[in-house]
Symmetry: C2
């Protein structure tokens, strides 16, 4: 083989590698927040494939709720890149999206009369860490399951004030209830990012 032919093959290999790496980078979608109009959040449709960090039953702070109504499950999912970052640092990176999914609970007499399992979707909310917002965080409500919005505006200032108050006074790490996310709680403890009192 001539030197020129060898060079041509080497160039070809390099081009092939560069082409495929570019293709791979393009195919890997960012899992961070997607906005329309700058700050309206597009509802993540694949959040059920994100990382589940924790949940509870009946953990509502809806004071108007009738205590006789069946309790609801809350499931919290976080975008994988933010999860990986938290596991290394104990803090949330810019671009963190936490989805709070609310589901009705039901009982099943076949397995256990007293236990409750997760049933139909009730609604979807989200909390986003983005340094462009005044507080660094924004809160979104995509509404009830029967009329879910594809995009949501950030909650208005008066509502956010209540979100921020509760998510400041009662949260273990930054604006998030890491005390309810047991695997993250352990990491935050090791990294020293828990607020005093936790």
């Amino acid at each position: 083989m001539t030197a020129k032919k060898k060079m041509a093959i080497v160039v070809g290999l390099a081009c092939g590698a560069a082409f495929l790496l570019t293709l791979q980078a393009q195919q890997r979608p960012s899992d961070g927040p997607r906005y329309t109009n700058g700050t309206n959040l597009v509802r993540p449709t694949d959040y059920r494939e994100w990382v589940y960090v924790g949940g509870g039953l009946g953990l509502t702070y809806d004071a108007a709720r009738n205590p006789q109504d069946p309790p609801r499950f809350g499931n919290v999912f976080v975008n994988p890149s933010a999860y990986r970052s938290f596991m290394q640092t104990g803090k949330w990176p810019d671009g963190t999206v936490l989805v709070l999914e609310s589901r009705f609970s039901e009982t099943d007499e076949l397995v256990s009369e007293r236990g409750r399992y997760q049933a139909k979707l009730r609604g979807i909310e989200a909390e986003v860490k983005d340094s462009r917002f005044p507080d660094g965080w924004a809160f979104y409500d995509f509404g009830n399951a029967d009329s879910l919005r594809d995009t949501a505006e950030p909650l208005v200032a008066e509502v956010v004030a209540r979100c921020v108050e509760c998510h400041t006074k009662n949260t273990a790490v930054e604006r998030t209830f890491v005390q309810f996310y047991p695997t993250l709680l352990e990491v935050a403890r090791q990294k020293g990012t828990l607020k005093p009192g936790f």
Copy 2:
């Protein structure tokens, strides 16, 4: 450019592509069951990054349990490749691993006195679909959180008989409680893979 040079570049590109695709395939770890001694299951350590399919509170079938004890949460995670396959077919592929994680529940008076959230790990069990087993499925118990085993033998025949009985009579799809996994339940309904009665 001569025809030979062009050909050399094309060959180079093809080689580069093949090389990178091979590399990518090698780097992508299989998320299916890993065994020692043929059938002893290695406990998956990354299952919290798998897909969460559902869970419940107090859904125990432990008849010996004191009903006054605080109920436990059960979280079910499935390996991502099996999840993707189920979402397309409504059935579990060979190599499905379902991890059942049990967690203690606690109350939090800051947010809600009546609600319960997930706390410390209690134990880990797994169910694997593998055509090498007589029933096509095997059940594993990795024990309690304070003494988790790194590998577990398949549960012995007498115990498995009870597992299979309950996981046959009461399950919505194959040997699995898809009736408790709301997003999968919808897919199984669409694909017509639900057992009669569900």
